[in-house]
Symmetry: C2
Subunit: 306 residues, 2 copies
């Protein structure tokens, strides 16, 4: 099944203790679609300026990504500049230039409207809602959000959440959204807002899935090399949604595997700047890393197994 992703296409300038990258390909839609492309055929909705190089679009198309919904408009592409320090768990934003994003309106090409799996990247909740209102035949609508919208656009966000099946959010944002300090209570409160499934991203500590029936906790693979965490959350979500679309099944068991797939994909992204690692990734790398996850987490299910 196909996957629709809505989000930003950007030029990022990033500094970490391991180097820097200037004006490289970034944006939530880039990471989401590229990560998902290993499992399904993603369709991007987004906007770029006249300065966006054709080679990036060519790369997407080569990965089987439908770029019909990428609007090219007069002006400059969205730009973000930031840095990471210490344990690199949080980005410090130096500059945000909205540029063409300022007047972005995510109108869907006709053939996108009945796409069954949808991920709404972190954009204005009113725009997320505008996408939802065009959808005709969904099986799973998922989204992300951030502090900026939680604090500044709460009532819009609440309306969007009512229409969303799965929220993928980091732990600090989950606490802010719910007003709860405890992550279990926070997830329960968020489930009351609409999403049946809540996935809490914890960076290097992994992720937790909360459903009606159960909790599932997955660690992240402890990595020796983390060069740049930018895009890790979107790569995670892209892998997760891409896998669900591939399996065309949303149940507890498949969601659990989807989270491991998402973590697998994210573990590649952070090993290099921009989409560098994803761009050279092979199917066999993913299979191998998934098996590392199995090794990393398995233990005897019988307490006194001898």
């Amino acid at each position: 099944m196909k996957l629709l992703v809505v989000g930003t296409l950007a030029f990022d300038s990033v500094e970490t203790p391991f180097g820097q990258a200037e004006n490289v390909l970034g944006g939530s839609a880039s990471y989401l679609a590229t990560s998902a492309s290993f499992f399904t055929q993603p369709q991007i909705v987004g906007v770029v300026g006249e300065d966006f190089p054709q080679e990036h679009l060519d790369f997407f198309v080569k990965k089987g990504i439908d770029c019909t919904g990428v609007q090219k408009t007069a002006g400059k592409t969205f730009r973000w500049a930031g840095s990471y320090h210490g344990n690199m768990n949080e980005a410090k934003t130096h500059e945000t230039q909205l540029n063409v994003l300022e007047s972005f309106r995510p109108d869907l090409p006709e053939h996108y409207k009945n796409t069954p799996y949808v991920f709404l990247g972190n954009i204005d909740p009113d725009l997320q809602m505008h996408v939802i209102s065009q959808l005709t035949d969904t099986k799973l609508v998922a989204c992300d959000t951030m502090n900026f919208w939680i604090e500044g656009r709460r009532s819009s966000l609440m309306k969007t959440l009512e229409k969303v099946d799965l929220l993928s959010i980091n732990d600090g944002e989950a606490k802010l959204l719910s007003g709860e300090e405890n992550i279990v209570t926070a997830a329960q409160a968020i489930r009351q807002m609409g999403p049946k499934y809540v996935v809490i991203k914890r960076g290097e500590y992994g992720a937790i899935l909360f459903t009606e029936e159960s909790m599932f906790a997955a660690p992240a693979i402890p990595l020796e090399v983390v060069k740049d965490p930018t895009g890790a959350g979107d790569t995670f979500a892209g892998g997760m949604l891409g896998y669900l679309a591939h399996m065309d099944r949303v149940d507890d068991r498949t969601l659990r595997q989807a989270i491991i797939v998402g973590s697998t994909m994210a573990s590649f992204t952070v090993q290099d700047f921009s989409l560098n690692k994803l761009q050279t990734l092979q199917e066999s790398d993913i299979q191998k890393c998934f098996e590392e996850f199995v090794q990393l987490t398995q233990f005897e299910r019988n307490l006194y197994a001898s």
Copy 2:
């Protein structure tokens, strides 16, 4: 097999957002031995003052704990006062009264000396070494330490680590000890210092085991009620070592289960103040919580299992 634990016996005064407790039973040896008592027969080495109530010692004996090595000396028992705020991941120490701990010398009763499993709680590394020097026939010597010794007594600590098989340490301390920001590199560096096995405790995020062959990452059970994290790390270590002593086997597979057992035990301790929860715990509670761990972490081992 028996387990020797060396550590403090204390009166704790603790404040958390969920209440407070004054002069309650605490100390690393209390948590270590009580937690381990569900799996093996622990032997305590520690010191108390004349003010230490007989009822606490009676409780230990009732749990099958050998208290021959608990020295009762003139003066007052060690006291610690602290509080937890926000996400309660770190204690703020208000007061430490060493009292009888100041002149503590952990001399082992004759019948403790050939105990095969040993956990040296977080005390002066010279005292940990003094214990090691009395041991005659060990299968596994494990220890804990803290910032205070890492910063103030590094050369003593390094000598102790050379003689230790397993180090159980929290992530911040691992980074401080190794001088490495990355947890994988930190664990590798610590393994070079002596311990074959390094267990990194990450509080609510679980624990990671590093051995020569593999890494094992276990989440903690996400808990709705965390009243008081005091003693969680020692309860974890007590469960882990108690289980290893019970199984009388130290291999990758048993170590992994031991870590789940440790996490299981710690998840009980934090649900109430002091040892309250451990004091009323039943075998069946442990079995049930271990099964919750299996539920919490299991996923299909085949990437495209249908």
